[in-house]
């Protein structure tokens, strides 16, 4: 076509006949070397196009664009000279000849240039925290859709159609009229703010909230809108915000997931606590209700044992059986009492009422309570306390602590051993129950106060234990605000240390 036209006809076409006027045409070979040119090159290019020179030396944007991948190929809004923006069409004329058309878009671009320039400068400044030099070229972002607002519902499209918009709403072009609130119902809400802002007639912009649109199945994009007032004109710029949104979304998502996990944890914890309470209540009720039948059986056993007349009628085997029944019932009752006591401590069903008490007396009572068992195993009990110390404790509970510790010590001390209660007073008061027993293995000493140490509760004399004693001790000590620790060496004995802090004592 053009090839067939004489050169001067082409010149006439593009200088005199609208709509061709003002178009620059450059012909190149398949490598982009300029063959010739027609039209107002001064408008489009800084230098005169030179025959034989590569086209991209004039327009860097055309680097490796000749030959184009498809023909015709159109590049939009390419800045070809200061203040000049052109659509560049590359058309294959024949295999080794290409026609490149420059169509001025500066007026189109000029309308939105200011806006984009301003917005980009701002964005650039935000991102880099430096200001752009005055003369710098704008870097264009053509992902924005710019609307020239006419009234509440209609606008004309004032920019090239970005690809996201053409997949959302095909059939719109530059200068198309558009009922924008139908396509973006979200903007109906933003228009309240925007109208307020425009009515002030001050240059500037306001930003909307974020909304998202589905551009194709499974693909959403997030958008924000800017209402812009520029030199008496109202614009709406709609901008996709992929990068920013991703970051914001991630942060928010993480914060919320954490919150959800935390809420769940809290819920599980309270559920668990309820369950544990149930367990303690159950134990408490069962041990309470078991007490009377056990005590009744024990009473009968006592009766039989004490009725010497009847007893002697039985042979030795049956006599021993009856003694065994009594022993086992005593143990069962003791275990049951401890269980009851322990579960109530666990439930918090007790109150510590502190009063002034004589430590010497507490130790004496402990000694007396344990005297039978001490005698049985030939264990020597002693204390270093000579002059009395007054401590402030719940007397009956604290007495139990010492009783438990000493009976525990007896259990794990072989025949003819020693149990020593050492009291030390400086700022704090320390009461140590030291035995010469078998000691406590390391793995047990860690869980020894938990109330249910399953391992090794068998004493040196074959005594059976409940494992509850030390759990009870720990609960009572804690409730007083005291501390208890254990030091032990296998084969050398154990030492339980109660510390009464100065102000608590």
């Amino acid at each position: 076509m053009l090839n067939d036209l004489p050169k001067d006809i082409i010149e006439y076409l593009i200088t005199e006949l609208p709509p061709f006027t003002g178009v620059l045409i450059i012909r190149t070979d398949s490598e982009g070397n300029i063959i010739d040119h027609h039209g107002p090159h001064k408008e489009y290019l800084r230098l005169v196009p030179k025959v034989g020179k590569l086209i991209h030396e004039h327009v860097p944007a055309l680097f490796s664009m000749v030959p184009p991948l498809v023909s015709p190929m159109v590049l939009h809004n390419i800045q070809s000279n200061t203040d000049v923006y052109a659509d560049i069409h590359i058309v294959e004329a024949n295999e080794d000849e290409y026609w490149i058309f420059f169509v001025d878009q500066s007026n189109q671009v000029a309308g939105i240039r200011d806006i984009i320039q301003k917005m980009n400068e701002e964005k650039f400044r935000e991102e880099t925290k430096v200001s752009l030099p005055e003369s710098s070229e704008p870097y264009e972002v053509f992902e924005d859709l710019i609307l020239n607002i006419e009234n509440e519902y209609t606008a004309t499209i004032h920019s090239k159609i970005p690809s996201w918009f053409s997949s959302l709403a095909p059939k719109y072009y530059l200068n198309s009229e558009i009922k924008f609130t139908e396509i973006f119902p979200y903007l109906e809400v933003f228009m309240f703010e925007a109208n307020d802002f425009w009515s002030n007639k001050k240059d500037g912009k306001i930003e909307s909230g974020i909304w998202s649109e589905t551009i194709k199945k499974g693909k959403d994009i997030a958008l924000t809108a800017f209402a812009i007032y520029n030199k008496g004109k109202k614009f709406m710029l709609i901008r996709p915000m992929d990068d920013d949104i991703d970051k914001e979304q991630m942060a928010l998502q993480m914060a919320r997931e954490q919150k959800l996990a935390y809420e769940k944890l809290e819920k599980t914890e309270s559920k668990l606590k309820t369950l544990l309470d149930y367990k303690d209540k159950f134990v408490s009720i069962v041990s309470h209700d078991l007490r009377s039948p056990v005590a009744a059986v024990l009473g009968i056993a006592e009766l039989l044992v004490n009725d010497k007349n009847e007893l002697t009628k039985l042979d030795d085997f049956y006599q021993e059986m009856i003694f065994n029944i009594r022993e086992e019932m005593i143990r069962l009752l003791d275990y049951n009492d401890k269980l009851y006591h322990w579960s109530n401590l666990e439930l918090g069903n007790f109150k510590v009422v502190k009063e002034k008490a004589s430590l010497l007396k507490i130790i004496e009572i402990t000694h007396r309570t344990a005297s039978n068992k001490l005698e049985e195993k030939g264990i020597k009990f002693s204390t270093n306390l000579k002059t009395d110390i007054t401590i402030e404790v719940d007397l009956s509970l604290f007495q139990q602590v010492l009783n438990n510790l000493v009976s525990n010590a007896i259990k794990f001390t072989p025949k003819n051993g020693n149990i020593f209660v050492r009291v030390k007073e400086d700022d704090d008061i320390r009461i140590c129950v030291v035995d010469s027993g078998i000691g406590i293995p390391k793995d047990i000493s860690k869980s020894i106060f938990s109330g249910f140490s399953r391992k090794s509760t068998m004493g040196t004399g074959g005594e059976k234990g409940t494992g509850l004693g030390l759990g009870i001790v720990k609960k009572i000590i804690d409730a007083h605000g005291f501390t208890i620790n254990v030091e032990s060496e296998i084969g050398a004995g154990s030492k339980f240390i109660i510390t009464i802090p100065e102000k608590a004592g």
Partner: protein, 158 residues
């Protein structure tokens, strides 16, 4: 769709409009508007559904979003008591900014009834305050159509 975060607003809309459900929780940023036409006793109603991001310390719902609405779903997560408190706050906000809007409360995730924190007393409280309350599950598609039908009908009768 109003409610605390992660109560199931997006899931309810997606179930209703696109018949899909995803276990994955994806924070909604901003507003997503979907459309669906429903048949209410013979007349067609075009619903514009505004799925608004969840209310919490990080994102506050803008009253402007509610202003022009004809109806609001207040969505509560049955397994999270805290979401009911936020629901009550949003009810107050909706009443103030859109006095003509009808309100329907959805207690969502009724497939997890075992784990519900919201009690029958809570629900009775909402009902005695004059609200329509519907128990839904986006997961098992329980009472979703009922919910949208109910609010459409209330909006039409307004």
């Amino acid at each position: 769709m109003l409610g605390s975060f992660a109560v199931g607003k997006t899931s309810l809309v997606q179930r209703f409009v696109n018949s899909i459900f995803s276990e994955k929780y994806q924070t909604t940023i901003g507003v997503k508007i979907d459309q669906k036409i429903v048949d209410v006793d013979g007349s067609e109603v075009n619903l514009l559904l505004w799925d608004i991001h969840g209310e919490d310390d990080y994102q506050k719902v803008k009253p402007a979003y509610i202003m022009g609405s004809s109806g609001c779903f207040i969505v509560v997560d049955g397994t999270r008591k805290a979401s009911l408190e936020i629901g009550y706050e949003l009810i107050e906000m909706a009443k103030k900014t859109a006095p003509n809007s009808v309100i329907v409360v959805l207690i969502n995730k009724c497939d997890l009834k075992d784990e519900w924190d919201i009690t029958n007393d809570d629900i009775a409280g909402l009902r005695s305050a004059g609200f329509e309350v519907i128990e839904t599950s986006a997961k098992t598609n329980s009472a979703i159509d009922t919910a949208f039908y109910t609010i459409s009908k209330l909006m039409l009768n307004k």
